[in-house]
């Protein structure tokens, strides 16, 4: 049943890759409701469970739709129009987890030495230095700036390790991005975005897209690198208890390293979002 959570309904969601849609009906699920997509001779089409047409947008190689009335547009990603960027869509992964836990995991650096051991982090260099959290009220975005973490192998090109500098950006509750110094072109920043399709409160699909400044790696090497990382994260988000994200500050114990997570939860609470949170009661 479609959620009645207005905050969740009034957003754009990526629900398919544009190149996987053909004339055959392509069923999927969004916010508790069955929806169907297809590419007809007249163009892309989608309808909800009752047969009502749904609005569609095609961007970044993805197809977006909404079950509500979004106030904002799909996030603008400046790197997507830079002609020399390597664009790497990494494919969809199904996760038996809340999409909100997936966002929070993407924002987290402290797990690198354990979940991505010897790739994105390594003991004993486990410290998370202080960083700045910014609520950008005008754009209604959440940022974590000036993040730094020791990474032994930050990208497919990196073999020596580096003190990585990262900015994180959360443009909407189910989309999360990062900008990091490109290991093979240190004057530029790689951009990685994760688009999440919340199917049920604790079931989602997610697709990472990367716009990299990397003249060296093969497309396959970049793809494999990101997929390996993402599957390591999947073990975590499918085994957190509860699966849904608690917004009550007393439910879990944060430290200073979790400033971005604390801010994200507060931002969601201010918005009044409930779908995928531990406070969600089923409607």
């Amino acid at each position: 049943m479609r959620t009645r959570d207005r905050v969740a309904l009034d957003e754009w969601y990526a629900v398919a890759s544009a190149d996987e849609l053909g004339p055959a009906p392509w069923p999927t699920r969004l916010l508790g409701e069955d929806i169907t997509l297809a590419r007809t001779p007249a163009g892309l089409a989608a309808h909800d469970a009752a047969g009502a047409p749904l609005p569609l947008r095609e961007r970044y190689g993805l197809v977006f739709t909404t079950l509500g009335a979004p106030r904002g547009e799909i996030v603008e990603i400046a790197e997507a129009v830079e002609p020399d960027r390597r664009f790497v869509p990494c494919g969809w992964t199904l996760l038996r987890a809340s999409g909100l836990r997936v966002v929070e995991n993407f924002l987290d650096m402290a797990h690198f030495p354990y979940v991505h051991a010897d790739i994105l982090g390594a003991e004993p260099r486990t410290e998370v230095a202080p960083y700045r959290v910014e609520f950008r009220r005008e754009a209604d975005e959440l940022w974590a700036r000036g993040c730094r973490f020791w990474q032994p192998r930050a990208a497919a090109t990196d073999t020596t390790g580096t003190m990585m500098e990262i900015d994180y950006r959360v443009p909407s509750p189910f989309v999360v991005m990062l900008y990091r110094v490109a290991p093979s072109q240190p004057h530029r920043r790689d951009c990685i975005a994760l688009f999440i399709q919340p199917m049920e409160a604790t079931l989602c699909r997610a697709v990472p897209l990367m716009w990299l400044a990397d003249d060296i790696s093969t497309h396959t090497a970049m793809l494999h690198f990101e997929q390996a990382i993402f599957l390591q994260d999947r073990v975590i988000v499918e085994n957190q208890r509860p699966l849904a994200l608690p917004l009550d500050p007393r439910a879990e114990i944060p430290t200073r390293a979790d400033s971005s997570s604390v801010a994200y939860r507060r931002w969601l609470k201010e918005k009044g979002l409930r779908f995928g949170t531990a406070e969600w009661t089923g409607a």
Partner: protein, 216 residues
């Protein structure tokens, strides 16, 4: 029965971490470097990760997600994201009573006299896709070997028996075959006649209970 057997002691070696359940309650079992077994709530208080996915380091259990370390008393002793921080004593896990007796690991949620000890030889753990019919361990002779069988109600639909021999098994292969045949018969019977099987095994359980009391 306040104590529930959750594993053969021999199946949890030094440094091992495993997840189990009693009546749906998720538990992280682990054995520290000194050989002492522990049973913790299977949830890190930081971000809710199951601690049964974690790893033992010396006398501490570390969470897989962020490496937070907990000592045998459940108290957080290290937060790697802040190496210079002494974690406050308020960060302490809920832990359960856990003892090793008669070749089995036992867990209790409340105070109770520990289960009886006895020399024991590990046989096997059987996992059943059916509810437990009794909570009381019982003694029974199968394939010529005197056994202690300890049931574990895992969830409303799943249970386990943890079986040790109270004397060296006469024929270990025959014993294992007999126990597996018993499990298959129970599961088949439950599939065919769920309602009747519940009644019958409830009765069987109570007779086992009597024999256990007589034997003990």
């Amino acid at each position: 029965m306040a104590w529930t057997a959750v594993a053969l002691a021999a199946d949890l070696g030094v440094g091992d971490v495993a997840g189990t359940r009693i009546d749906g309650e998720e538990i992280a079992l682990w054995r520290d470097a000194g050989g002492t077994p522990h049973a913790f709530e299977d949830r890190c208080p930081h971000r809710g990760m199951r601690l049964s996915f974690g790893f033992a380091r010396g006398d501490r259990l570390a969470c897989l997600y962020h490496g937070w370390q907990f000592d045998g008393a459940g108290r957080c002793r290290a937060i790697p994201a802040h190496p210079d921080l002494s974690p406050p004593a308020t960060i302490t896990l809920r832990r359960h009573r856990c003892v090793e007796r008669a070749g089995l690991l036992w867990v209790a949620f409340a105070e109770a006299p520990p289960p009886a000890d006895a020399p024991a030889w590990p046989v096997l753990s059987l996992f059943l896709d059916r509810p437990a019919t009794t909570r009381e361990p019982w003694r029974e002779r199968i394939a010529g070997t005197p056994l202690l069988l300890a049931p574990q109600p895992r969830s409303p639909t799943q249970s386990a028996w943890h079986v040790v021999a109270l004397a060296p098994p006469a024929d270990a292969a025959a014993l294992r075959a007999a126990l597996h045949a018993r499990r298959r018969a129970l599961e088949r019977f439950a599939d065919e006649q769920p309602a009747a099987s519940e009644r019958r095994h409830a009765m069987a359980g109570s007779s086992h209970l009597r024999s256990a009391r007589e034997a003990g």
